[in-house]
Amino acid sequence: MDETIAESRTAARRWTWRIPAYILLPFYLMLIGVLLRYAVYVRNTGVWGFNDYLRALCVYDCNAYERLALNGYEGRPSGFDKGDANNWAFFPFYSIMVWAINRLTGLSMLVGGSILTCLLTVWGAILSWPLFEKKFRAYFLFCFFLFLGPFSYYFSTLYTEALFIMLTIAGFVLLRQRDYVTAGVTGALMSATRSTGLLFAGAILIAAFQNHLKDGGTVAGFFKTLWKRTDLLLAVALVPVGICCFAIYLWFHSGDALAFVHIQRAWGRAFADPFNNLWLTLKMQFDNHNYSTITSDLAFGLAALFGMALSAVMAWKGKWDWALFSLFGVLLPLSTNAYSMLRFVVGLAPVLIMAALLFSRWKWLFYLLLPALLILDVLLLPTWIGRSYYLM
């Protein structure tokens, strides 16, 4: 018997008993990230309580999701100075999960929700492995960004980014496997998590078209056989089910099925030309003759540009389903205002994956980015805890 073959068979047998690196990596990085930020928090504040640390991390929308899990949806709007805000703008799926964890384990909403968020991010990272096409360096950079990057806070406290990214990744992996109906179910959960989840319906159609071509079909053939594609019809029909369930609930609760849209007036959001909004945001500080700092408005504008640029890269790489999902994932919130664009761009899994694939192509850049991300993660912790508009 050939020794090489025998050894490789043994190695293969051994391998089956091991947990693959792509599964362990996110776990390790998540644990390192949590411990590192906790250590920085203790160093900065002198407070040792882990619960205090989790409470300090829970700023802005985190409080809203926590209250939503605790008390459900509020009645007549009365929040903010204008007395016109309440929590109808926050989609329910994530808070339902936090509430369920609380019921099952008895953990507080804050602790249970924080653990859930971390585990959802780990799960999302593991699921994303097939999308990296065995490019481990890119996968490492992606995981490092999630758990040790400057936006790691979204992935360790009560925010919907972790759940949305996990569902998006699951959806695109299912599309890759041509399992459209299950992808549609995932899309339904996405639309129950964030309004941009609706965009996944378009991604399903584009992915099906591209898969048809990859499988040897023609453009004309795709449209000719479309009437037979009941799986696609079902998948697309499933995506809005999540948001529709929320709309029905709101109709009974408030009388307005679109209350989640209308209540956005309290946040100064109204539909307008996204490109005009982008232009206004980018030039605002220069109109005020501020050339020395980067204001949050400029940061939001740059984030939107980054998201759109990476959407173009996706299209160039032939990943049209990713590209259009990401492009409209940027334009939809941008059409209402530029606030929080950093968070909305970071919440788009294809943008993060494409950025990781792109920036890990060059080893020097990869090795430069790792410490840069880590330093930013540590430095931005007080900024995040201090309720900075930049990171919101």
């Binding site: 100075d81 007036r265 109204a270």
Partner: protein
């Protein structure tokens, strides 16, 4: 070889159910079951503020008492008349937002005319054009404030009985008096589609029947008969159609002395 596809009946059955479900949602979207104030503020966007709930902004007000919107000043302090378009009281009073701010008073009115007085500021200065603020009571204009600088304007307007009663009565038989301050727009809408408007700041306000004011004045003119009165002297009770400008201390009366 071109891929082939097999249609499935159960797919179509589920799609049919989802379509029915979507139609129900569409009906709900097209037929909102909301109050008028919700519709005008959130759906039509024709209103610039959303009124506070009736159980919070009850409209209760001891008629004739000065209302202070600033902490540590004398006067009625419960935040019950701030109804729509004014932010919560702060150290400098209440500030308007949007096209108007409304204070709503609910109480039984005596058979009398009324005097509306208040101290107000606006976020303007002498380098800007005159900004006129219309003062309406129950949608009837009772006067105009002309802001030409950052100085205080003391509003002093006569409210005829017929105007004060034009707001109708609530379910408890109280007269409803809505005092509305309509501010001008000063800039085009920003990215949030909300127009930029003048911001009016109120520190104190009072609505008093003329008869009681006359009696009060007479009492002041004879301090021996009414020694316990601690109201600050009023410069004049004669109403004027436009507010008077002053750069002195706020018109809200100082805190009453103990005893």
């Amino acid at each position: 070889m071109a891929p082939t596809y097999q249609p499935r009946a159960w797919h179509l059955a589920v799609v049919a159910m989802i379509v029915v479900f979507d139609l129900i949602v569409l009906y709900m979207v097209l037929k909102p079951n909301v109050t008028d104030d919700y519709r005008t503020y959130y759906i039509d966007r024709s209103a610039s503020c959303f009124p506070r709930a009736d159980n919070v902004a009850t409209g209760y007000y001891p008629l004739g008492e000065p209302i202070s919107f600033v902490p540590d000043r004398s006067g009625y302090e419960l935040d019950t008349v701030r109804w729509c378009g004014f932010m919560p009281p702060s150290n400098t009073g209440i500030r308007s937002f949007g096209d108007y701010g409304i204070l709503r008073i609910r109480m039984p009115l005596p058979d009398d005319d009324f005097l509306l007085t208040f101290s107000s500021w606006a976020n303007t200065d002498s380098s800007k054009p005159e900004r006129d603020v219309q003062v309406l009571v129950n949608d009837e204009r009772v006067g105009t404030l002309a802001f030409t600088s950052a100085k205080r304007i003391d509003g002093r307007f006569l409210v005829p009985q017929i105007v004060a009663r034009a707001g109708g009565k609530d379910e408890n038989g109280n007269d409803v008096v809505e005092i509305k301050f309509m501010v001008p727009r000063t800039g085009p809408p920003g990215t949030n589609s909300e127009p930029i408007t003048l911001q009016l700041r109120l520190e104190a306000l009072r609505l008093a029947p003329l008869k009681s004011l006359t009696a009060e004045l007479m009492a002041r003119s004879n301090p021996i008969e009414e020694p316990s009165s601690s109201e600050p002297p009023s410069s004049s009770t004669s109403p004027s159609p436009r507010g008077s400008t002053s750069s002195e201390a706020p018109a809200a009366p100082k805190k009453k002395e103990a005893g």
